[in-house]
């Protein structure tokens, strides 16, 4: 009766609502950096939280769909960056097990490790995958796309490092800690 078929209902809804928020954050409150088409995106801090709560499938799809809708409303689906975004979301989703945010305890050590991890994946995705895709597929000059790439690495790492960390801590504080209830004697 209760056999699992694919992803759970909660994940489905998380993808839906998450995409809506990601879209609104990315589309309406970007903070421009001065480099064309590269913004400080608060959406990525949010993505870190969603990945940590709902796992890789939700993280990947929220980022992929949210970025795709944003680009569509600008009229230019920039596929290389959309796919890079999906990979970024999946990588955030992988933190679910190790952060174990539902249990309510986020130690300093976990937060530092999370930030080291996020800097590594940010460099991997926005410094390597996305610009290389642009060079290979859109054939744009390497120096230009790598400048865009490096700018996004800095912006996204900051967005995740500051906003993402704040959100993770705030969320963990709303969860009840494991073993916080004691049996009365």
């Amino acid at each position: 009766m209760n056999q699992k078929q694919g992803i759970s209902v909660r994940t489905v809804v998380a993808i839906g609502i998450g995409t809506a928020i990601f879209f609104v954050l990315m589309r309406y409150i970007p903070i421009p950096t001065g480099v064309p088409n590269t913004n400080i995106n608060l959406a990525y801090g949010f993505l870190a939280l969603m990945g940590a709560i709902f796992g890789p499938i939700a993280g990947g799809l929220i980022a992929f769909l949210g970025h795709m809708f944003t680009d569509l409303t600008w009229g230019e689906p920039w596929w290389t960056w959309i796919i890079a975004d999906g990979i970024y979301g999946v990588l955030f989703g992988l933190t679910k097990k190790s952060l174990n945010i539902e249990s309510g305890a986020l130690s300093k050590r976990k937060l530092i490790l999370f930030n080291v991890y996020q800097i590594i994946i940010t460099i991997l995705v926005w410094g390597v995958i996305a610009p290389t895709g642009d060079v290979l597929i859109y054939s744009e000059p390497a120096s230009k796309v790598y400048l865009q790439g490096i700018t996004s690495v800095i912006c996204n790492a900051l967005s995740v490092g500051i906003l993402g960390t704040i959100l993770l801590v705030a969320y963990a504080n709303t969860r009840s800690k494991k073993g916080s209830l004691k049996e009365e004697s």
Binding site: Q5, G16, I17, A20, Y28, N37, Y171
Partner: protein
């Protein structure tokens, strides 16, 4: 934020509007991918003109999209300028010849090759705009998710997409309310404020926005669970429409365009059309 709500389906009775969402989705993906890969100027020109014609046929008014168009134009110009600043010789490198128009300082001269390459980029930037806008403005969101399901994506994910489209206006409304409340308390988030203030104020809007939304996820998923969502392998869609003759004609047209694009790779011996040699 108020004047550019673009995901707004309105019924318009015409050829483009009557195509099913499946057709429009496949068409958009196929055409944007082939246009992304191809650097054949003739092909890109035909794509651009074709998508403008479709835009005309779709009956979308210019003033509905003028705001977005002005923004995109500005972005494209910035991008093209950045390409020139960082790779003034990139066209020469790609086409392997140099026809100098104007001898500038150091590498910063102007060649036909560079102009031609940037013209190609420009076409690539703009040809998808009419297509994407047509897709967004003439596709019913519920029908869109049924189309996703039809092209083979699991119905859970299709349903998630339709939830996203359903809740974007709600999230926008929440955001606006929270931001007005914060502004009433003296937090400046518009361009008038300092950057540090804006970042801080943005965070103060985000926390309540995100936490109400997390609650919302719980409520909606419980409601869906109660209605036994996801218990079976398949589901039917209220908004699904059957494919008609016009859909097959349109899909055939898309297939022909894509095949021509692929055929041109062979003719040109690569992705680039080179008029210089």
């Amino acid at each position: 934020m108020n004047n550019n709500v673009l995901i707004g389906y309105k019924k318009r009775d015409n050829f483009v509007d009557r195509l099913t969402g499946t057709t429009k989705l496949i068409g958009l993906i196929a055409l944007s991918v082939i246009g992304m890969v191809s650097f054949d100027t003739r092909f890109l020109l035909v794509l651009t003109v074709g998508s403008l014609v479709l835009f005309r046929l779709s009956g979308i008014r210019f003033r509905e999209v003028s705001f977005v168009l002005s923004f995109i134009t500005a972005f494209s110009v910035l991008n093209l300028a950045a390409v020139y600043i960082f790779g003034p010789q990139y066209g020469v490198h790609l086409y392997g010849s140099a026809h100098v128009i104007w001898q500038g300082i150091g590498p910063y001269n102007l060649t036909w090759e560079q102009l031609f390459y940037e013209f190609n980029l420009f076409l690539k930037y703009i040809f998808t705009i009419p297509l994407a806008l047509i897709f967004l403005m003439t596709t019913n969101p519920s029908e869109f998710s049924s189309s996703l399901n039809r092209i083979g994506i699991s119905y859970r994910i299709s349903y998630a997409v339709s939830l996203a489209l359903r809740y974007i206006p709600d999230v926008q409304k929440d955001y606006r309310q929270i931001s007005k409340a914060q502004q009433a308390r003296g937090n400046e988030i518009s361009k008038k404020g300092k950057l540090t203030h804006r970042v801080k104020a943005a965070a103060q809007i985000l926390l309540p926005l995100i936490f109400t939304s997390l609650d919302r996820i719980e409520t909606i998923s419980q409601a869906m669970e109660l209605r036994r969502f996801g218990k079976l392998k398949k589901r039917s869609w209220y908004a699904q429409r059957p494919m008609k003759k016009n859909d097959f004609v349109a899909l055939l047209g898309v297939a022909v365009v894509v095949l021509v694009g692929i055929y041109l790779f062979r003719v040109n011996g690569g992705r680039f059309y080179d008029p210089f040699n």
